[in-house]
Symmetry: C2
Subunit: 390 residues, 2 copies
C-alpha cells in the first residue's frame, strides 16, 4: 500500500476509502422540498477523510459539481486505477489537509452515485422513480447535507468548499444555515445562471428528451437514452473548456490521417475528443439525473430566494468568512458573476477574499492541478482554523 | 403594389422577385469536386435584383450563410409576409443599392433551397441522394457560382459580399478567381474555424445523426429527424447570439408565469425562444444539408488550401480590394480572426479596409439593421465602382 501511495503523482493520498450511506426522512417524516413535494426515505452516499477532532471543530464539507460524487479523494482498492475527483486538493499536506481537517463529501440528492435520485427505487411502486422523482433544488440538496451533518454530530463546519454547482451549494449553506458555516470557499461559481448558461442546459436537456429511448424518463427497464445523454455531455463539455485551451490542445489537427475523410466521421481531434467524452459519460451517469441537476442549477437564484432579488440582502444572512475564486477563461460562470458575489458580501461589511486566477483552461480550471489555488485554499483554511480555536 | 412597397419598414423594396434556376454539369461533364468525386447535373437556384449595365460592370454577388437561400431581397407575391433574408441591405438606395448595382444571390450547392443537395433526386437512382451526395467544400460552392456567372455572361464582379459561411465564399472567390473579383466584402467571418467552432458543429451533427429517424441519411420516404435537427439548430442559435444580448432580451424572465413549474417544461423565456427556433427551423431546412454545409465550413482553411498553410501566401493570389468587418460580441468568429485576414492582406501590400463594429448582438449582428454597416458597404462599393469606371 505504501508503495502504491508513493506512486501517486499528486502527492500523498488519503489511501483506501470507503463509501458510506445514511438514510433518513422516512415516511411520514419525509423531507419537504422547496417545491412543496415530499421525498423519503432519502439516502445519502458519503465519504470522509481524516479525523474529526474532539471539539468537532475541524469538519470541512466538500460540495461536488454536476457529474461528481462522494468519492472526492483516495482509492477504493489497491488496484483502483484512479483516485477520487479532487484527490489533487484533498489529502495529507494538500490544499485541504486531511492531517488537520475532517473532510466530508456527500453525493447530492437527484444524482445517481448512491444518493436518492430519479434512478432510485420509489418505495411506493417498487420501480425506479423516473420522472415521478420530485424536482429538487440546490436548497434541497443542502438540506439533505444538513441532515447528514446532524447524523455525524457536526454542529459547526469549519468550511464548506465547492466549485461550479458545488459553489452554489456553498453559497446556499452560508445563507441557509449561517450559524453552522464558519467559512465558505466558492470556486468558479455564480449566484445565478445567465441566460446563456440556461440556454446550454436547456439544449442539453432537449437532446436527452429527444432520444426515443428516454420514454418520458421511464427507461430503466430497457435501453437507455445514451445517444441523447452523450450529446448533452458534449454540449456541456464545450462550455467547460475555453477557446484558447481547445485550440492549444487540439487546434485543427486531424485524427489518424493527414487528409479529410470527406464523410461524416470525426476528422478533427476535437471531434474525437468530444465523442469520447460523450461515450465515457453514458457509462457512468444517468440521463434523468442530468435533467434534474441541470434544472436545479438553472433555478438557483440566491438573491431571489433569500434576498427579495437583492444579492446583498441574501448574503447579509451569512456569518461565514468567504473565499471567492474565479478563473480568467471561465466563460460559463465569468468573473463578473464572482465579483457580484464579492461586492454583495462587502456591502454587508462581510469578510471576503477574492482572487481571479489567470488560467486558460476555462471553467474546468478549478478541477485541475493549480499550486496557486491549493495554496490559496490552504492559507484560507489555516487562517479560519486558527481564528476558530481562539 | 406601390402601397405595399411603401409599407415596407425597411425602406423601398426591390419589389416582386422570382426564383430562377440554371442547370449545368450534365454527365459526362460533371463538376469535379475537391474530394475528387463527380457531381452532375447541378442546378443552381438564384435571384437577381436591379439591372446589369451595358458594360456588365456592376454585378454584385451575394453569398449566403448556413441556412440562407437565394432569396436575399424583395417579395415573392404581394401577400408574402416577409421579404428576403437581407432585404435591409439590398434595395433601391440601400447599402447595396439596386438602382446602381445588378445583384445576384444563388443558393449554395449542398443546401436544400433549390440548388442541388442531398435532398435532390439522384438521377442514377431516381431517389434523393441522402448520404450518397458527395461532400462539397466552400471551393465547390464557389465553382458552382462561377458556372452561374459564366451563364449570365459576367466576366468581372464588381464585388462579392457575404457574412459568416458566406464570408468564407467571399475569401475563396477572391483567391480562386482573382481576375474576376474587383472587390470583396467579408463580414463576421473567418479564414478557418477554431476548434471551438468545429466542436459546436460536431455536436450539432451528432444530435442529428443520433435521431433514429435520420437512418444514415436516407429518411426522405419517412419521418424526418426533426428532433435531432431542432437540437442542432438550438446549439447553432446559441452561438449566433452573445451572452449580453441574451441577457438583455431574456434575462432570467419566466414564461407565462411567476413561479417555477418544477418540471421539465420550458420555465425561462430563453428556453421557449430556443425551442421555437428549433421547431421553426425543421419546417424549412433539411437535416442532411445541415450536415453537409457545417462540414464544408469546418473543412474550410484558406491558408491550407491555397497558401501551403500561410494565409498571406493564400491571399497574395487575390487582386480584389477588401472590406473586412467584424463585430465586438461575435464569439463564434471573433475579431482576432478578421484581423488575421487583414494582416495577411497587408503583408501582400493589398488594399484592405477593416472595421470592428461595436455591436452586442453577437455573430448575428451582420444580419441585423445597422446604419453603420450599411453606410460602410455603400461607401466601399461606391468607391470601387468609381475606380472601376475610370
Amino acid at each position: 500500500m505504501s508503495e502504491y501511495i508513493e506512486h501517486d503523482r499528486n502527492g500523498i493520498s488519503v489511501g483506501l476509502v470507503e463509501k458510506k450511506y445514511f438514510t433518513f426522512a422516512h415516511p411520514p417524516n419525509e423531507m419537504v422540498l422547496e417545491s412543496g413535494e415530499r421525498l423519503g426515505p432519502v439516502t445519502i452516499a458519503y465519504e470522509t477523510y481524516g479525523q474529526l477532532d474532539k471539539e468537532k471543530s475541524n469538519a470541512v464539507l466538500i460540495c461536488h459539481a454536476l457529474s461528481g460524487d462522494s468519492h472526492a479523494a483516495g482509492y477504493y482498492s489497491v488496484d483502483d486505477p484512479k483516485p477520487g475527483w479532487w484527490d489533487i486538493m484533498i489529502g495529507p499536506g494538500k490544499g485541504i489537509d486531511t492531517d488537520r481537517y475532517f473532510v466530508i463529501c456527500s453525493n447530492i440528492i437527484g444524482s445517481c452515485m448512491g444518493s436518492t435520485g430519479p434512478s432510485s427505487i420509489n418505495p411506493e411502486t417498487g420501480r425506479p422513480y423516473g420522472l415521478n422523482f420530485p424536482l429538487v433544488t440546490i436548497g434541497d440538496m443542502v438540506d439533505a447535507q444538513k441532515a447528514l451533518m446532524d447524523h455525524l454530530g457536526i454542529e459547526k463546519l469549519l468550511s464548506v468548499v465547492g466549485g461550479s454547482i458545488g459553489g452554489m451549494q456553498v453559497l446556499e449553506w452560508a445563507v441557509r444555515y449561517p450559524e453552522m458555516v464558519r467559512s465558505a470557499v466558492a470556486l468558479a461559481t455564480t449566484a445565478r445562471h445567465s441566460a446563456l448558461a440556461i440556454a446550454f442546459n436547456e439544449v442539453a436537456r432537449q437532446a436527452i428528451m429527444a432520444d426515443p429511448n428516454w420514454k418520458g424518463g421511464h427507461y430503466y427497464n430497457g435501453p437507455r437514452p445514451d445517444h441523447g445523454l452523450a450529446v448533452a455531455r458534449m454540449i456541456g463539455h464545450i462550455t467547460y473548456l475555453s477557446e484558447e485551451s481547445m485550440w492549444e490542445k487540439f487546434g485543427r489537427r486531424l485524427q489518424n490521417k493527414n487528409a479529410f475523410s470527406y464523410d461524416f466521421d470525426a476528422d478533427f481531434q476535437i471531434e474525437s475528443y468530444l465523442l469520447y467524452q460523450g461515450r465515457k459519460f453514458v457509462e457512468r451517469f444517468d440521463a434523468n439525473s442530468f435533467l434534474y441537476i441541470t434544472k436545479a442549477a438553472d433555478y438557483y437564484d440566491l438573491a431571489r430566494e433569500h434576498g427579495n432579488d437583492s444579492l446583498a440582502a441574501a448574503l447579509s444572512k451569512a456569518q461565514a468568512r468567504f473565499l471567492v475564486v474565479s478563473f480568467t477563461s471561465d466563460w460559463l460562470y465569468p468573473t463578473y458573476q464572482s465579483r457580484a458575489i464579492v461586492q454583495a458580501i462587502k456591502k454587508n461589511w462581510g469578510d471576503v477574499s477574492f482572487c481571479e486566477i489567470d488560467a486558460k483552461w476555462g471553467h474546468d480550471a478549478f478541477l485541475l492541478p493549480n499550486p496557486r489555488l491549493s495554496a490559496l485554499i490552504a492559507g484560507f483554511l489555516d487562517n479560519v482554523s486558527n481564528t476558530f480555536q481562539e
